[in-house]
Homo-oligomer: 210 residues x 2
């Protein structure tokens, strides 16, 4: 059992375990196992690991248009001329950009908010890139904003706030369709989702890309 | 969803995620969450993290007596004059040294095997520090060897192998007591453990340190 009061036989070991244990979801026991794994690994591989971590934080930059993580001042998506520059999909994080990209159903631009309005966590509109989003809309050339945030209370609040801010401009503001997830069994679908999916029912069409 | 085929918006990000995903028990999704955590962390803290990893592998050394991890050529335990240098507790790994130390019931020396004999994993006696253990015994001054290995088939095999090697010397060879764990309910104790604990029953004494 690895306990809090344990005496590490090595300062280096203790430091490394402490660093890993500072990661989210990693306890001291798991951290210790990771460190022992690194100790058994090839020296060059461990060096590459450490350097990747340092470089990540030092060299990473954020796209000045969409605020997503990028290796360059303008990210690959924003600088891609084949993308539809009149549509912006507003997401919480870079993970969500990747999730939408993986659907292969979207060819527009993105805007990464860097979070979601959450008074409980002390995150207000000014902590997010909402001003920058408004700037992009103000500059013109945008016809539609797709709000692709979590379907939670915080997501709904943020949707509403952005809607209020951008409603004055001549653009369409849409949100993701809400309904029964593909593969879901109706019996186990929660009643709010099911209710929404009845209200927002649509004409039946044969399956396929819309 | 983070999938295998995903396109990372940044090479630096991808490299860091790959490195974390190479750790035991860490999938790509968890690795991504860790990397995003580091990206949000203080730059100095991330640098410290990376450097701790690099230093760990480069600067760590192994005690030349007990083969445990140490910052010096001779570890703190082996160089501590208050410890009983006539008893050696044989363990699998440094974690086990720390586990025994935490009991505060042992004041002798250790010998870290660096593993356990396991033909399935291709680990034979020559992969462990058994020769070095025999050297320590040969040099004299040792009166007892305590075998503190896992109570598994591999542990028993290793116990037996070490016993055969060291039996020729004038030392006591003992193993950890096996029996019902403290706090265990008899009803749920497996029959092998329970059977062993009946065979090895001892005279009742009032609880206390022996």
């Amino acid at each position: 059992m690895i306990q809090g009061d344990k005496q590490f036989p090595s300062k280096l070991l203790e430091e490394a375990v402490n660093e890993f244990a500072s990661l989210p979801g990693i306890g001291r026991k798991t951290a210790f196992r990771m460190v022992m794994h690194l100790l058994r690994s090839d020296s060059a591989a461990v060096k590459r690991f450490g350097e990747a971590v340092i470089r990540l934080r030092e060299d990473v930059c954020y796209c000045r248009f969409c605020h997503g993580i990028s290796d360059n001042p303008v990210c690959d998506i924003c600088s891609d001329n084949r993308r539809d520059k009149t549509v912006i999909c507003v997401v919480e994080s870079v993970q969500d950009v990747m999730a939408v990209e993986n659907t292969r159903q979207y060819n527009g631009l993105y805007h990464v908010l860097g979070g979601i309005i959450s008074p409980v966590d002390g995150i207000g509109p000014s902590d997010l890139t909402i001003n920058q989003l408004e700037e992009r809309v103000k500059e013109g050339g945008i016809s539609e904003i797709i709000l692709a945030l979590s379907t939670t209370m915080e997501g709904d609040t943020t949707n509403y706030y952005i809607y209020k801010r951008l409603n004055q401009y001549d653009i369409t503001i849409s949100t993701l369709a809400r309904g029964v997830a593909i593969g879901d069994v109706l019996e186990y679908t929660d009643e709010i989702t099911l209710g929404q999916s009845i209200i927002n029912r649509r004409h039946f069409t044969l399956p396929g890309r819309v």
